[in-house]
Point group: C2
Chain length 474, copies 2
């Protein structure tokens, strides 16, 4: 996943729009639907489909960055898996995606104590000239600290943003710090800097630089920007601590190539009496280029495919249609998300409930949602079924994911199970995002949670109330 800095403020806004208390009593699930939910939970807890799907995607496709051959292979893989798992109405929605090519990044300290450090270019940044750039460096913590520097302080210099993040189970710290990655390069460029290096948005002491998207506004020159790992950021900070002039070198062959075709992959478990109402399960199919995208987001793909599949495999007939959408290009552009929302402009209101998986393999630690206050009681009923999976009840301020955010902005309520992110930011957007980081028990618990949530969401005897529309995330 990626998250923009805007999201936090929107999440806070959501708190105000949805936190009005409700005293209505929503209709109750039927006994048979609840019994089916319990049987589904039982089955899901011994089912390894989600893990196997993630393993298959990472092994048989591997990296699948937007516009790459792996991206196209993933689209074929997804259709094949949907067929194998018994989905119907399988189809693709073609979408043009950016094709940014990382190339090679070299980063080195030149003075006072020369040494190279592994680095990754930030997504969307330009490369350097062939010889690279060499310049004196200025270390700052974050955007606020940059803004406080005297005029001219970073002109013709390289800015080093050294902003550590805390390990947390939730996504709050990442949302705070991501502004450096998103807006750091353009903010430094606006002040005349020639390059940027950031401390990775990482909670790991391992030497993996983290890539990720960075905004490239039209009104300032694009400048090269790379990320270094936490250990190297500490080492570089020690060079600054010597009070000697620090000179750095950045070389990057990052570049843009023409857009490529990719696709959202869509499949359904058709509903019965409420088939025109859609419960949408979203996960992005693309990955960054440097790992194999196991936690980000083969796990999410495995979770949503498995949730719908298990309902079908149990012989259940959902009242509402379950639609799985595996989105293109979440990581560096969200073209898939935008294209889906645009194409569904006339049918947005049919999307009565959503759920997205884009925060690793889990386990789910709290069953949050963002539903109309009148429907909070429905969630309480769901939670009673889910409680054996050992999770907290959660809040009604679920952060939600990026791909469904245009639908949420138009008023679609969501189930937002919060996956445990304690180690997520050790791994995501790095070369280290492999299946060795996916815990089979955790992903099984997550898939079980999604299956039960989606099943009951599809069976709800009342009407899912829509939220207040608000500005979309991007």
């Amino acid at each position: 996943m990626h998250r923009s800095g805007i999201q936090l403020s929107i999440a806070l806004l959501a708190l105000f729009t949805t936190a009005t208390a409700s005293s209505q009593t929503p209709p109750k699930f039927s006994r048979s639907d609840l019994a089916a939910a319990e049987a589904l939970l039982e089955r899901a807890q011994s089912d390894s489909t989600a893990y196997r799907l993630a393993e298959s995607l990472t092994t048989e496709v591997g990296p699948r960055f937007s516009g790459s051959p792996g991206d196209r292979a993933a689209v074929a893989w997804a259709q094949e898996q949907m067929r194998r798992l018994g989905f119907e109405n399988i189809h693709t929605q073609e979408v043009d995606v950016p094709q940014w090519v990382r190339g090679e990044a070299e980063f080195a300290v030149l003075e006072p104590w020369p040494q190279p450090m592994p680095a990754l270019a930030l997504g969307g940044t330009v490369g350097t000239r062939d010889a690279g750039i060499e310049a004196e460096a200025v270390m700052v913590k974050d955007l606020a600290a940059l803004a406080e520097l005297p005029t001219g302080a970073v002109k013709d210099r390289i800015v080093f943003f050294n902003n550590p993040i805390e390990r947390r189970r939730d996504w709050v710290e990442y949302s705070r710090a991501v502004s450096v990655r998103g807006a750091g390069p353009s903010a430094a460029s606006a002040l005349g800097a020639v390059g940027v290096v950031i401390r990775s948005l990482s909670t790991s002491a391992q030497r993996f630089p983290h890539t990720g998207g960075s905004r490239q506004p039209q009104d300032v020159p694009r400048i090269p920007a790379v990320a270094i790992s936490n250990p190297d950021a500490d080492a570089l900070a020690r060079q600054f601590a010597s009070s000697q002039t620090v000179r750095l070198r950045i070389k990057s062959t990052a570049r843009d190539l023409p857009k490529q075709r990719s696709a959202n992959v869509i499949g359904e478990i058709p509903g019965t009496d409420l088939a025109h109402e859609i419960v949408i399960l979203g996960a992005h199919l693309d990955s960054w280029d440097v790992g194999v995208g196991a936690v980000d987001n083969a796990s999410g793909v495995g979770i949503v495919l498995t949730a719908a599949h298990l309902i079908r495999a149990q012989g259940l007939k959902p009242r509402r249609t379950l639609r799985v959408v595996l989105f293109a290009n979440e990581e560096n552009g969200s073209a898939g998300s935008r294209a889906y929302a645009a194409a569904q402009e006339q049918t947005l209101a049919n999307h009565v409930l959503g759920i997205e998986a884009d925060y690793g393999a889990g386990p789910v630690w709290q069953f949050s949602t963002r539903v109309h206050p009148a429907d909070v009681g429905v969630i309480d009923q769901m939670y009673r079924v889910l409680r054996p999976l050992k999770m907290d009840r959660g809040t009604n301020e679920a952060p939600g994911g990026a791909d469904l955010s245009p639908l949420v902005a138009r008023g679609m309520p969501i189930l937002g199970p919060e996956l445990d992110g304690t180690y997520y930011l050790d791994v995501h957007h790095t070369a280290n995002d492999t299946m060795s980081q996916v815990d089979p028990a955790a992903i099984r618990q997550s898939a079980a949670t999604y299956a039960v949530g989606v099943w009951l969401g599809a069976q709800y005897p009342g009407k899912w109330q829509r939220l207040e529309p608000k500005a979309p995330r991007r």
Copy 2:
């Protein structure tokens, strides 16, 4: 450190040569020497010199692979630190070291499911032609499994050695498995293979390939050989598990360049009445090229320098001379170790006791030794002082390190504190060998152990008995 497969058998041999029981009672340490040892222990437990030295070496020098500019910078750094820490008779012993250049390694699966995997060339291997090599691959566990294949089974193929190792506190498992890295390429070449890829000698689920030395005998063609990480070895094994033909590509620009000058760096805390007897503290100064050599072996450098320094800083006057030798080229040739032993040919008998630090930062979990059976009682006395540092008594079959092995082979007894290697093989010989992997409390405990051991070793009122000479390790 590196260890050759030969070491295990020599360690077992040592067990037989030294395990004869002794009923002699060695002389006792004086009360004042024991009191000084306790005060030294107290001081060392709140001293951060070893950590600071490791931090300084990795920050101000960084990678220091034999023959590289960093290697020469490390020699200058070491002399400067010895001066600063109050050593005497500081000098270098020049030595010619190999200059092997890694270049770049590319590794990819071509069939059945193409994807690239990060790889590192094994030390001493040749590169490929510019286009790389592409060949069908054969997976085997180890050398024994390779030997059992039918004739011609690996001819013109790439051999994948997929031999996992267990996490252990001691060094036994590594010693078992290192034969694949050391002898795998030449064994495969002897059977007509064109390339080798090995599962890294690693206990980590992180995606770091491990480099390390590999033997290049004259009588078989040198072939390219690379290591991949554990997660990638698992992923590659899944491709084999598909029962489809696996084709691999290796490209490597590794090559030999002319030998370079390096040096052992030597400094002393001179003895008093027994100054002609030497207690030697050894650690290698060089590192592999891919990390900054924090656990392997800036930590060992920090430990031995600190042990001798603390004795001097306490105002203690050791009876025997403490000699710290920071060896060149341990990782890929041991030229420093051989040169030292050769130059001391006439004075080998003066080296009455040794201690080496080359297994990370610690803590010491057992106080092993390899001393004459008559002197085991001396070690019991030392151990009583060390016990507050929370370690076991250990054995008299300490593995010892590579650099002092020529002296041990000639009969020098050693103190062999065993440093906790539980996580050592996660890190050593990888890009991830940084200061973030060094625990300040662990290295402090190790330095305290070495300081007390060396102090009492220098004060021992008896005569250190020599061991039976045996064949040196290499």
